[in-house]
């Protein structure tokens, strides 16, 4: 369900719309709906999540029904439908990473940040969650940080502490 808090109105800048146009040009005439996933990523990179009003504007831009955007945004796991921390940490929680300590990293993050999975720290800087396999099993445990999706490998509680401090001081 899309709740009221997720209805923050947003405006697309002309730079963002120019990027939309470039992406739309990659597909044949009449197949502009193909641009939907890339456009949602662009919107998320800009606003750090995907508000409903942005989805409605994407629907209008692509000349498709809003429901076609909602069903896609809710199907794929990468689109945040509510605000996240400025740095959204995603830790792989699947088999191979767990063999080398991913569960410890997740519980360490919970203690370090003082919030539960999915919550945002009071300063608005961090949120974290466990995600499924990030295809870096040989370098686990791993985490990525949206919206840039910078990647950190071979994590230890100490390296996570350092990462958090570095991001705070950025």
């Amino acid at each position: 369900m899309l709740k009221v808090e997720e209805q923050t109105p947003v405006t697309f800048s002309s730079e963002l719309l120019a990027k939309f146009d470039e992406i739309k040009s990659r597909y044949p005439e009449g197949k502009q709906k193909s641009a939907l996933l890339p456009l949602l990523h662009l919107v998320q990179a800009e606003f750090l999540w995907v508000p409903t009003s942005a989805m409605d504007q994407i629907a209008a831009y692509l000349n498709i029904q809003p429901i076609e955007v909602y069903e896609v945004a809710t199907f794929y796991t990468m689109y945040f439908l509510k605000p996240q921390g400025k740095y959204a940490l995603e830790v792989c929680r699947t088999g191979p990473c767990c063999l080398v300590g991913a569960e410890k990293i997740l519980s360490h993050l919970e203690n370090k940040l003082g919030v539960k999975e999915g919550e945002v720290t009071p300063d608005g800087l961090f949120s974290f969650r466990g995600v499924e396999c990030l295809a870096a099993c040989g370098f686990g445990p791993v985490l990525q940080i949206s919206p840039e999706y910078t990647f950190y490998e071979n994590l230890t509680p100490e390296s996570v502490d350092k990462l958090i401090e570095d991001l705070k001081n950025k």
Binding site: E68, E132, G138
Partner: protein, 455 residues
């Protein structure tokens, strides 16, 4: 040292740039194919090479290409499947990160062979850094005339685009990938029609894995016959193996197919043995979907012969004593790992990733996760093991796409080979919360069957 076709230049500084890639012989395959071969001849070379799909299914790539319908006046598409999400598999990420031009060169040659004028590389959305790398490499290639209009003056036009996914394992299934590329939810399509007849936008389409497409480059450079000489039997060429878990040297290795599994795990050229001086308990040889095997059946066939890294040897013995090469995601478990916990973890993965179209998969994966959670956390009963077996049997083969099978196989094989460990969790609900079942007899060597004199 075994031959390297894909990763030969991986350590050359700057190999991710067009300039260095060219210095190392890059884009020769494009010149050769476009200037001296017809599209049919390129397809023929790939057929001769015996190359089999590197994404997991192992279907012969040349044959897949030859099924492509070619109706007049209808566009054809090549789509590269770079939605690498199979737990244990990370070879495509590696290839795209370090040698992006190998994929782009393969895409140009393959698109030429198939008559595609527009091709897409569908990369899983989480790999934004790789998407940026590929887009940069494509821009370089285009500026140098390897892409765009009238490539090398041959009259062949090709545009290549990178498409990000949105975070869904199911989009690695080719028809789900096409749905996703069309801007929809990643629900697999019913086949037939196969993508070769009606794929992207209803047009004839070939979907190939990153590694398969990159392998086309050495096949065209050296010839399909030369490629087929590498490997063993119908497992020709080299394969990228993603090694993870409790190994001394996890990472991506290029092997000649036919390498003994024991050598792969223990030799210093590859994984260097089990980390921290522990012993091997079990392996998953081809990504999380393939059956898990105890250490003894990993190293040897049921008859005591050495098991090899090849499509045939890994599946020798069927699911009773064998597994599959799959995508080459090789996960090693040491003696301290718990098979029940890992099976629960994998079931959670499949439950999370089921698209929800088919009831057996949507509901069954959730039930399996719940039952496994119960056993792992000390609340299981003996009936649960049978119930688990029953549920997985009812998923396998009863779904539109193979995700259902992929969810069922790890559970079935875990019960088949590690039933003792499940039962121990049930009989020892308290102890199993703080201790592990350990190695048990899972590494007891399999003796070679005695040779009898009689006929």
């Amino acid at each position: 040292m075994s031959r390297k076709l894909l990763l030969e230049h991986i350590n050359v500084p700057g190999i991710n740039t067009l300039e260095v890639y060219r210095q190392k012989g890059g884009y020769r395959a494009v010149e050769k194919a476009l200037k001296t071969l017809t599209p049919e001849e390129v397809v023929e070379e790939v057929k001769k090479s015996g190359l089999r799909g590197r994404g997991g299914a192992g279907f012969p790539t040349g044959m897949k290409w030859s099924f492509l319908a070619k109706p007049e006046g209808v566009a054809r598409y090549l789509v590269c499947n770079a939605d690498e999400s199979e737990p244990g598999t990370f070879k495509d990420r590696y290839l795209m990160t370090y040698i992006p031009h190998a994929l782009i060169e393969g895409m140009i040659v393959s698109s030429f062979a198939l008559g595609a004028k527009v091709s897409y590389i569908y990369v899983r959305g989480e790999m934004m850094p790789q998407i940026r790398i590929l887009e940069k490499a494509i821009a370089e290639a285009k500026a140098a005339g390897w892409l765009g209009k009238n490539i090398l003056g041959t009259g062949y036009d090709l545009e290549l685009y990178v498409q990000p996914g949105g975070g869904a394992y199911i989009c690695g299934e080719e028809t789900a990938l096409l749905e996703s590329l069309e801007g929809k939810r990643g629900n697999p399509r019913i086949k037939p029609p196969f993508p070769a007849i009606a794929g992207l936008y209803g047009c004839p389409t070939v979907v190939n894995n990153v590694e398969s497409i990159a392998a086309v480059v050495p096949i065209i450079n050296d010839g399909g016959d030369e490629y087929a000489k590498i490997g063993i039997g119908r497992s020709t060429g080299t394969k990228l193996i993603s090694a993870s878990g409790n190994l001394v040297k996890p990472g991506v290795y290029e092997i000649e197919l036919g390498l003994p599994v024991e050598e792969f795990i223990y030799s210093d050229e590859y994984c260097g043995g089990i980390a921290n001086g522990k012993r091997l308990k079990a392996t998953v040889a081809g990504g999380s979907s393939v059956p898990v095997l105890p250490a003894n059946l990993t190293l040897k066939l049921a008859n005591g012969e050495p098991r090899l890294m090849s499509y045939e040897s890994l599946s020798e013995g069927g699911f009773a004593t064998g597994t599959m090469l799959g995508s080459g995601g090789f996960i090693a478990f040491d003696e301290d790992q718990c098979i029940v916990r890992n099976t629960w973890n994998f079931s959670r993965f499949y439950h999370h990733e089921s698209c929800g179209q088919c009831s057996p998969c949507r509901e069954g994966t959730g039930w399996m996760e719940k039952i496994l959670h119960k056993i792992e956390h000390g609340h299981g009963t003996m009936d649960d093991v049978d119930l688990l077996w029953d549920v997985q049997r009812k998923i396998e083969g009863n779904t539109i796409c193979p995700l259902g099978d992929a969810a069922a196989w790890p559970v079935a094989s875990a019960i088949r080979h590690f039933r003792d460990e499940f039962e121990w969790h049930i009989k020892e609900p308290v102890k199993s919360q703080s201790q592990n079942y350990g190695l048990a007899n899972y590494a007891t060597p399999i003796e070679k069957a005695p040779v009898t004199e009689e006929q």
